[in-house]
């Protein structure tokens, strides 16, 4: 009996994998930068030990960032990582070279070793050995991408981060809604919540361990917080009327949220450990979509108190409310850059809704996207890219644009429609 239980556990694992791989997100780069850094990454020397091509994962990561130009080369299996023939690579016109190898150190454990060379100066730029259990090999490849990105561009990479998003699809006359989490490259997508009623507004806790979201199960809106490691969830608010737009304070102790309590929507602050609720805005207009400034001192929100939806800022220390957007008749759904200097938001241009950024010091507004129904911008934790939802072929897809507007990526899901993407913070483990 024990044996059969063990077997079935293995088999569950198999079917899980089948499900996961049946609905991948495909990331494609649609536009990159001119000044991309050239790099060559031949396949790793792994003696056929693993079926994952780590070099390919790293090449894809770097190419999709739009900041690297990947040059192809012949695969030289006779070269060892210890003694590479740098002269040969120089002849090939290679400028930066990454060589790697995978060794098995015990049945479940591998060791991934890599070195990056400046071929022109004949110098090693960096070299690491990363022990990696088999199921973390993919993650290890993303870590290598992060290390290269930071070394060559001077900015922390986001290849090991995750994204959460909502999908919806029709199944037997019913629409099903899922809150999913995937790696930043769209792979390893997993369903976190599934419901026959809408799910909305996922928000990562600052340590990346929890998600807050809105669920309409049982004909009520309610805000839940779910622990990702255990799946345990807790209903946070279920007042009459709207329970929406949860946003974590940078220290993770408070949740800003929108409640209407059967009247009209205002912003409230909930202290999570005590349950104490404090009303922050008080106006007969719609006040919603609160986001915290990274220093936690102020909140930016959407309000139509001036007649049309615009962004406003309120200080947590009290004091006045300041209007931030003046261009256009619709500015909503703000996301703060991690450095606190920029806001990304939905901005209406004629009949179209696009993603724009506002530099808070200069008040300069720049439109970054060209869609008709672009929405839900979310900054990457390194501030380099903005994830957002857009329409392609009548379906919702996720896309990303660099803050300077130069790099564009699309992230497709095979089944249904994707929306409300949110980029996770850095993994704090």
């Amino acid at each position: 009996m024990f044996l059969s239980q063990k077997l079935s556990v293995v088999i569950i694992g198999l079917f899980w994998m089948v499900f996961v791989s049946s609905a991948p997100l495909t990331l494609e780069i649609t536009q990159g930068v001119v000044s991309a850094v050239p790099i060559t990454i031949p396949d790793f020397n792994s003696d056929g030990l693993v079926d994952q091509n780590l070099a390919q994962i790293i090449r894809d990561d770097l190419r999709r960032s739009g900041r690297f130009q990947l040059t192809t080369t012949a695969n030289l299996s006779d070269q060892t990582i210890e003694q590479p023939d740098i002269a040969y690579w120089r002849q090939q016109g290679v400028e930066n070279l990454l060589l790697g190898q995978i060794k098995k150190i015990n049945p479940q454990e591998y060791e991934v070793q890599f070195r990056v060379f400046d071929v022109i100066r004949v110098q090693q730029i960096m070299g690491f050995t990363i022990p990696s259990p088999q199921r973390y090999l993919r993650h290890t490849a993303h870590r290598i991408s992060d290390l290269i990105y930071e070394k060559l561009l001077g900015q922390k990479g986001v290849f090991t981060t995750k994204i959460a998003y909502i999908t919806s699809y029709r199944q037997a006359d019913k629409t099903l809604y899922e809150l999913q989490i995937a790696d930043a490259d769209g792979q390893q997508a997993q369903s976190t919540v599934r419901s026959a009623k809408p799910l909305m507004s996922p928000a990562w806790s600052p340590d990346g361990s929890k998600l807050a979201y809105v669920s309409f199960e049982n004909r009520h809106s309610a805000i839940y917080i779910q622990e990702l490691a255990t799946g345990k969830r807790q209903k946070i608010t279920a007042f009459a009327g709207i329970n929406g737009a949860p946003a974590w304070s940078p220290d993770g102790r408070y949740l800003a949220l929108t409640l209407s309590k059967g009247n009209n929507p205002d912003i409230y602050i909930l202290q999570l450990n005590t349950g104490q609720l404090q009303q922050l805005t008080r106006h007969h207009a719609i006040d919603t979509e609160a986001v915290w400034s990274p220093d936690g001192r102020s909140i930016v929100f959407t309000s139509d108190r001036g007649g049309s939806p615009q962004l406003y800022k309120i200080s947590m220390q009290g004091g006045g409310i300041q209007r931030l957007t003046f261009e256009g008749k619709y500015n909503a759904s703000a996301s703060f850059a991690p450095n606190g200097k920029l806001l990304a938001f939905v901005h209406q241009v004629n009949q179209d809704f696009r993603i724009a950024v506002l530099e808070l010091s200069s008040k300069q507004l720049k439109i970054l996207t060209q869609g008709k129904l672009d929405e839900s911008p979310s900054f990457a934790p390194n501030g380099s890219m903005i994830l957002y939802a857009t329409q392609a072929q009548q379906n919702g897809i996720v896309a990303a644009v660099s803050v300077d507007g130069q790099v564009h990526q699309n992230l497709r899901v095979q089944q249904g429609s994707v929306r409300e993407p949110v980029w996770s913070p850095y993994d704090k483990r």
């Binding site: 059969s4 079917f15 599934r194």
Partner: protein, 224 residues
């Protein structure tokens, strides 16, 4: 014994694979999912997926204008239009006060039943109830007055344009417009619940005005 074990696990495997599409939780030690069981699905919920044409009112000129607009809508709606004009003919000469409402069944989808019309449509970014929908609200208000045990939920919806949480606010404003209108008729607030789904539950898929105008709506749902 070994064979039996293997057989057991095979059966298990099939049982598990059959539900794995729906029940795929706990398979991964890093990440555990939640399946939300929804207890709220009723037969009424079906009606909101069916595109219903806004009813024509008495004014002939407006009716024509309305049909004009509908030339833009999807082909699947054309047959509804046909049915709708039959309905309008029958109701054109009815005065609301002359109808005995005590026999009416709000759960009936029979088109001769004035309570079968449960959708109020709105203009873009507006929560104003157009005069043509007052009749629908009056019929339901009268029914609620005659049947104090009856309960409704007003579902506010918007089209897909603009931000999602702002649209939740806008959908609630629309539901409140209908709510206020029913209260003015004397309906007890205890008979009315409200929920806004914003743009999350469109009646019609599509990304142009022909779909949008059918999605900007308040649906009256009888919950007992």
């Amino acid at each position: 014994m070994k064979l039996i074990n293997v057989m057991t696990s095979l059966v298990l495997m099939f049982a598990i694979s059959a539900c794995s599409l729906f029940d795929k939780q706990h398979q991964d030690d890093e990440h555990v999912g939640v399946e939300v069981e929804d207890k709220s699905i009723s037969t009424q919920a079906q009606t909101q997926f069916k595109p219903r044409i806004p009813p024509q009112h008495q004014d002939q000129a407006d009716t024509l204008a309305y049909q004009d607009q509908n030339n833009l809508t999807m082909g699947q709606l054309e047959s509804n239009l046909q049915n709708q004009s039959d309905y309008t003919d029958q109701h054109q000469h009815q005065n609301i006060s002359s109808v005995s409402q005590s026999d009416l069944d709000p759960f009936s989808d029979d088109q001769n039943n004035p309570l079968s019309d449960k959708i109020i449509y709105f203009d873009y970014n507006s929560d104003q109830i157009a005069s043509e929908y007052q009749t629908i609200i009056q019929y339901h208000g009268q029914y609620l007055l005659d049947n104090p045990q009856a309960m409704i939920e007003l579902e506010g919806h918007t089209d897909e344009r603009g931000s999602r949480e702002f649209n939740i606010g806008l959908g609630e404003r629309r539901a409140q417009s209908v709510y206020q209108s029913l209260l003015l008729q004397g309906v007890s607030p205890n008979q009315i619940q409200m929920i806004s789904y914003g743009e999350e539950m469109p009646a019609v898929d599509g990304h142009d005005e022909s779909a949008w105008k059918l999605n900007r709506r308040v649906v009256i749902v009888y919950i007992n």
